[in-house]
Structure formats: C-alpha cells, structure tokens
C-alpha cells in the first residue's frame, strides 16, 4: 500500500481566541484522527520557522525560512496509507486541521 506524507501548515495565532472548551474539543478531534486505521505515524515540529540551507555557489548559507513572509509554519507531519492520491486526499479531508483553517500538503512517498 502506498504511503503518503501529510504536511500540516499552521498559523498558531488562530487558536488565541478559542475558549478552553473549544481548545479541548479541537485537541480531541486531532487526537481521534491519529486513531484511524490508515494512520501510520506522525511527529510534531517545534513552533518556529526552522532553517533552510542554500548551496550558494559552493559556500552553503543557512537562512530562516522558508515561510518568513507568512505567519504559517510547518507544524508537523503524518504518514498515512492510501491506494492513490485521490484516496489520500479523501482521507485527509476528514482531518480537523482543515476545519480550523489550516493547510495540508499531501505528498506520496516514493516506493522502491
């Protein structure tokens, strides 16, 4: 079964105005999603922009990025199993991240 990588882009300030009750509901929804049968694993990333290293003509140079222009950061990633891109997208549509205004980037993992 092909594997897909879901990259969850986040704008953490979005949650600033939510009540504790709403925050709990959101947390429960995110947690429930990781209990789904097609879910393989995931990791949370630290809430910062990270670094991007450019070759820079043989003199590699690292910069903040890659989203320094926006408030969105790559918040974490999941791997799921799906038969095709269509199915992977279909499964991702149920992720609460979209309900809360986030963005999910879906990429297929290359199978040898």
């Amino acid at each position: 079964m092909p594997e897909f990588l879901l990259l969850l882009h986040d704008e953490p300030t979005r949650f600033a105005k939510m009540s504790p009750e709403e925050m709990q509901k959101a947390t429960e929804k995110y947690m429930a999603w990781t209990k789904k049968p097609f879910y393989k694993g995931g990791k949370r990333l630290t809430p910062d922009l990270g670094r991007v290293i450019h070759a820079n003509n043989g003199k590699p140079r690292s910069t903040d990025g890659p989203y320094s222009e926006t408030k969105e950061v790559l918040g974490g990633f999941y791997t799921i199993e799906a038969s095709s891109y269509d199915e992977a997208v279909q499964l991702s549509l149920s992720h609460p991240h979209l309900e809360y205004g986030g963005t999910i980037e879906v990429r297929q993992v290359w199978a040898m």
Binding site: A16, S19, P20, E21, A26, G42
Partner: protein, 421 residues
C-alpha cells in the same frame, strides 16, 4: 468522524476547569494587574496541548502538564515584559518555585482552591458593575470565551470584549488585590459574589432565545461556583440556601420541555425526569442553610423550590405554604417578578379573580409592559374566567415580546384555546 471518537478522550471540561484555576493561581503570583498575561499563558499551554498530545499522546498527568507548561509560558512572558523590570527576577523566582511543586500534592490542591475563591471575589468586587462582574467571572474563573459569553447574553463579541477590557482596567487602576478582605468587608464581598452567581444561574435558567448548550453551561458554572464557596470556610447559611435553590431548580430544567420541544408547566411536568442527584444535593444544602438565624431571599426561594420538589404529584403541592413563602419573599424583595409568582399561588388558593387583582398593580409598571410572562399569566387567568376576548388579546401581545420558541408555541396553543372556548 463518529461522536464517540470525538469525546471520551479527555476528561469532560478538563481544559475549562484547569484554565480557571491556573489563571487564578498565576494571577495570585503575578498580581491582578497582570491578569491578561496569566490568561495568555494558559491559552498558550492549551495550544501546546493541541499541538503535541495528538502525536505524542496525552501525558499521564494532564492537569500537571498544563499547570507546568502555563507556568513556563508565564516565565517567558515575564522575562520579555520590560514593564516589570525590577520585579522580574522576584516574579520569575516565584513562578519557578510554584512550577516545581508536584501536581496533585494535597497542599497545592488546597492552594488552588483558595486561589480560585479569591479570584471569584475579585471578579465580583462590589465596586465593579454587575454586568462586568458577570462577564469577568465567566471569562477568568469559568473559562468561557468572549464569543461564548456574547452568545449567552445575546450581545455582540465586541461589546463583551470591551467590557472585559474596561473591567480589567478598573482592577488595575483601583489597585484591587487578591488579598482576603477584613471580616466586615467580607460580608459585602460575599453578598456581591452570591448576587453575581445567582444572576449567572438565572440567565442560564430563564428560557429565552439563545444557545441551549451555553445556557446549560451557565447553570452548571453558577452551581459550581456556589458549591466552591459552600465548601469553604466562608460558607454561611445563605450560601447553602443559594446552592440549594440552584440545585433544586436545575433538577427540573430537563422536564420543562417535552420530547417535542413544547413547554411543560411545573404542575404537569413528568417528575421522573427530575434529576434526583441534584434534588438530593439541593436538600443537603437546604438542611445546612437552616443553621443559624439568617433568613435571606435565597432561603425563602429555596424553601419554595423545596416545597415543589417535595410534592409527589400535582394534587399534593402545598399551595398555602407556597403562598406564605411568597409573602415572606415580598417583604425581603418586593420585586414585580416575585409579585407575579405570588399571584400564581393566589390563583391556586383563592381563584383567578383574586389573582387578577393581585397582579393589577404590575400592569401600571411601564417596565413590565413588554414582559411576556405577565401577559401570559394574565391571559391564563382571564381564560380561566372565560373572558376569552381579553385573554386572546393578552396572548397575542405576549407573542409580540421577547421569548423562546417553546414559549412561543405554548402561547399559540393558549391562543387557540381562546378561540375554541
């Protein structure tokens, strides 16, 4: 996603409960002037939970985790806050000490309860206007969002947000503290707090249009705050009376509307739908309210609610006792609403004509001209007297007032009766 998967993963209201007490605790350490900072720190802890728990799993001690992460967020914020300059080190040291106490320790539990109580008394300070106290209590102690408070009071978000900003400014500028007031001042503070709590309860209990779930939350929160005070050393008989009153009324709330969403009058309610747990809680506090000489408005109202709760069926309601209690209540609080309720007891004992006489003075009150309940009661009495045209006029006028959908259906049904008769 199934409903089952969405719930049951975390303890009910875990975030709301913890938010209230952690904000109270941080505010105690930071001072009431830094209430915003305390709230933001708790918010940040919850965002962290949202971001980490789904992939890393829920920590074994979720409460302790939120407590610690909120402290760390506060420490970072205090270090960044230049306005605190010379106090920074001392506050950071306090926060670090507090963060290191193992959660669940009985001493910290006691401390947190105490902080929460002090926070209630700060929010309900008699110098703060009641509407502001209500909003601030719900926000900081109750863990309600601005949007939720606005929904509960049919106000718009901006108005509530501005009210909160003004109230916090008042607290800052008048230098209010979380210190325990003197014994004499305590009476005044306690009365103000009970008043705010009862107001929150009534707002949730009174059926007007608005979000059903939020209104139930208001009742629960008011009951929780009342019980918190009742369990403390500040518990006086009238605190127990208020808790009894709220519990006995809340016990009936489910039975007020039937399965098709129609309003059911008290006498016609299916008593098996009354919440027995709340009834026994109510009677427990009612008994405790009887120690001492204190007879407050809450005592009398609790006695009325208890009389209804004791009645096994419609015929056995002790109307003479209820009428007598309303008489006492009139002396303590001669409000139009009390007079109107008393008229219902008068109708039971002396008939509809006497009850009509009893409410006559109310009709001259311009504030009550658009009060649907007065019109509904009057219509009901006229209907009993077979004065159908006048009754129909009342129900039609009542339908033009602010009331909930089940109430509207009830009034339409009554209006129908006027035609049939």
């Amino acid at each position: 996603m199934s409903a089952l998967a969405e719930t049951g993963l975390l303890l009910d209201h875990l975030f709301r409960r913890q938010a209230g007490r952690i904000v109270a605790h941080l505010t105690r350490l930071l001072g009431p002037a830094q209430l915003d900072l305390a709230e933001e720190s708790v918010q940040e802890a919850m965002v962290r939970a949202l971001q980490t728990w789904p992939t890393q799993g829920v920590p074994e001690n979720a409460e302790g985790w939120l407590f610690r992460v909120a402290h760390n967020a506060a420490i970072d914020a205090v270090r960044r806050n230049r306005a605190l300059r010379d106090k920074t080190d001392a506050i950071v040291a306090d926060l670090c000490r507090s963060a290191s106490i193992p959660p669940g320790d009985p001493s910290i539990e006691r401390r947190l309860r105490d902080d929460e109580l002090r926070m209630i008394f700060l929010c309900c300070h008699p110098d703060i206007p009641r509407d502001s106290s209500v909003a601030l209590s719900l926000k900081t102690v109750g863990g309600f969002s601005v949007r939720e408070i606005a929904r509960a009071f049919l106000a718009d978000d901006t108005a509530i947000a501005q009210r909160l900003v003004r109230t916090k400014r008042q607290i800052r500028e008048s230098g209010m503290t979380l210190d325990a007031p003197s014994a004499a001042e305590m009476q005044r503070r306690l009365d103000a707090a009970l008043d705010v709590i009862y107001f929150i309860f009534n707002e949730g209990y009174t059926a007007h249009e608005g979000d059903e779930l939020i209104r139930r939350d208001l009742c629960q929160e008011a009951l929780r705050l009342g019980r918190l005070i009742a369990a403390s050393s500040l518990a006086q008989p009238r605190v127990h009376a208020l808790v009894a009153l709220m519990a006995l009324q809340a016990a009936r709330s489910e039975a007020r509307v039937d399965t098709s969403g129609n309003l059911v009058l008290l006498e016609e309610q299916d008593r098996s739908r009354w919440d027995q747990q709340l009834i026994s809680l109510g009677f427990h506090h009612f008994d405790r309210s009887m120690s001492g000489e204190d007879v407050s408005q809450y005592h009398v109202e609790a006695a009325i609610a208890a009389t209804h709760a004791r009645a096994a069926a419609d015929g056995s309601i002790d109307w003479p006792l209820i009428l007598n209690l309303y008489g006492q209540l009139m002396e303590l609080n001669p409000s139009p609403v009390v007079r109107l309720n008393r008229a219902v007891a008068v109708a039971k004992l002396e008939g509809p004509a006497a009850a009509l006489d009893a409410i006559e003075p109310l009709e001259a009150d311009p504030k009550l001209r658009d009060y649907y309940l007065l019109l509904a009661v009057r219509g009901h009495l006229l209907l009993q007297l077979n004065r159908l045209t006048e009754a129909a006029h009342c129900f039609r006028a009542a339908l033009g007032c602010r009331c909930s959908e089940p109430e509207r259906r009830f009034l339409r049904r009554k209006l129908e009766e006027c035609r049939v008769g």
